[in-house]
Symmetry: C2
Subunit: 233 residues, 2 copies
């Protein structure tokens, strides 16, 4: 049993690939957007940049010495292509169960995504509008993951101390940002990045999926059963 799970008073989730099954769709949409502007990159390379915002993602795929004059157009192309998928996306298994359990357990629950506002409400529709205490997107900050801005903003707005917060994500950028922000990096392999890769990027704990994380949380932190408040020993 992890002391970090027992001690946590807050939990901050990444969105794409962590709560919504969208990482592979982002991969295809960035691949296609890059193609349309003459940049051919292997899909696996694109996949492993998803989780950063457009600012860092294009640096990684095209080099930071590039002509940046097309960046906005490439990013807009990705956003247009991704929007065509909004209706077809699904939550990752156990996402809603886990979010509800975290609320019932008294945790402060946040969302910190490198993605923009444009997709946020569509993804909230996919998740059936969970009750987050705080939501921060890439549009709210100067720099996305692996920088700490979205996590810092979420902690600040929620009034949480970093060391008592679990940050759950599926990408190496989530783990790097969490490690830098001083929170507990928790990796889930739901975006196609394996547990060993997440550990190499700084994950303190890794789980195959959200159901396994929920099992670990329930073991570490027995939650009050709804309607039985006061009955716990």
């Amino acid at each position: 049993m992890s002391d970090s799970l027992t001690r946590a008073s807050g939990i901050v989730f990444d969105l794409d690939g962590t709560l919504v099954d969208s990482t592979y769709v982002h991969t295809l949409c960035w691949w296609e957007a890059l193609q349309q502007f003459g940049h051919e990159r292997p899909m696996a390379a694109v996949h492993h940049t998803v989780g950063m915002g457009a600012d860092h993602l294009l640096d990684h795929l095209l080099g930071d010495g590039r002509d940046r004059s097309q960046d906005d157009a490439v990013t807009a192309a990705h956003d247009v292509l991704f929007s065509t998928w909004h209706e077809r996306l699904h939550p990752l298994p156990s996402a809603r169960t886990l979010l509800n359990w975290c609320r019932d357990a008294g945790l402060t629950v946040g969302l910190a995504s490198s993605g923009g506002q444009r997709d946020l409400w569509a993804m909230m529709d996919v998740l059936d509008h969970p009750d987050f205490d705080v939501i921060v997107t890439g549009d709210d900050v100067d720099s996305t993951k692996p920088d700490t801005d979205v996590l810092d903003a979420a902690l600040d707005r929620a009034g949480l101390d970093a060391e008592d917060v679990l940050v759950v994500g599926d990408s190496v950028w989530d783990m790097q940002a969490a490690r830098r922000a001083g929170v507990v990096p928790v990796g889930v392999a739901t975006g196609g990045t394996s547990a060993p890769e997440l550990e190499s990027a700084g994950a303190e704990l890794t789980y195959q999926d959200l159901a396994a994380l929920l099992d670990a949380l329930q073991e570490a932190k027995p939650a009050p059963v709804a309607g039985t408040w006061g009955a716990r020993p």
Copy 2:
């Protein structure tokens, strides 16, 4: 320098995710095909079954105790959806250079894929019709990877001894089949499965991409330069 690379007299390639950048497209097409028949599976789970043929893939995703009456229809749906992508696919970087180098170096060059004939010639178009000594697809055998049938058939038709053959693939199923067939399993991380995952599945050697494999082969096995036959010491 690897003795296995130096000793090799033959090299057998997987197709999807190894020579052609199609693993992520297969993932989306199987995901969509399963959806159309009422089976929702996370995309990362689908991704990690790509590399098997439809026979084993559906067992892994739906359980081998399922009603199999829809298998042919689900598989046909995948094939139809994948066909819409034929024109948009690209070779993985260095695929054609590596295949040409292997020919120049005197290696017997084979292709052994779990995929079917339907996609084969479209993928040969993508690769600009390389000169394989032998081609075996999932339609030629009773059982696809991780069983050894496609590799056994390729070795048999090419008259190669297993221990002198490199088998290059991007999936755990390629590595498992190669290990069982007694050939040298060589993993490339071009399909989004990481080198550590490929090593866990039995890879003797792993490379980030085909360019890195080509570098290693050139170091292990100096090849005659075209037109200078007889000039080597």
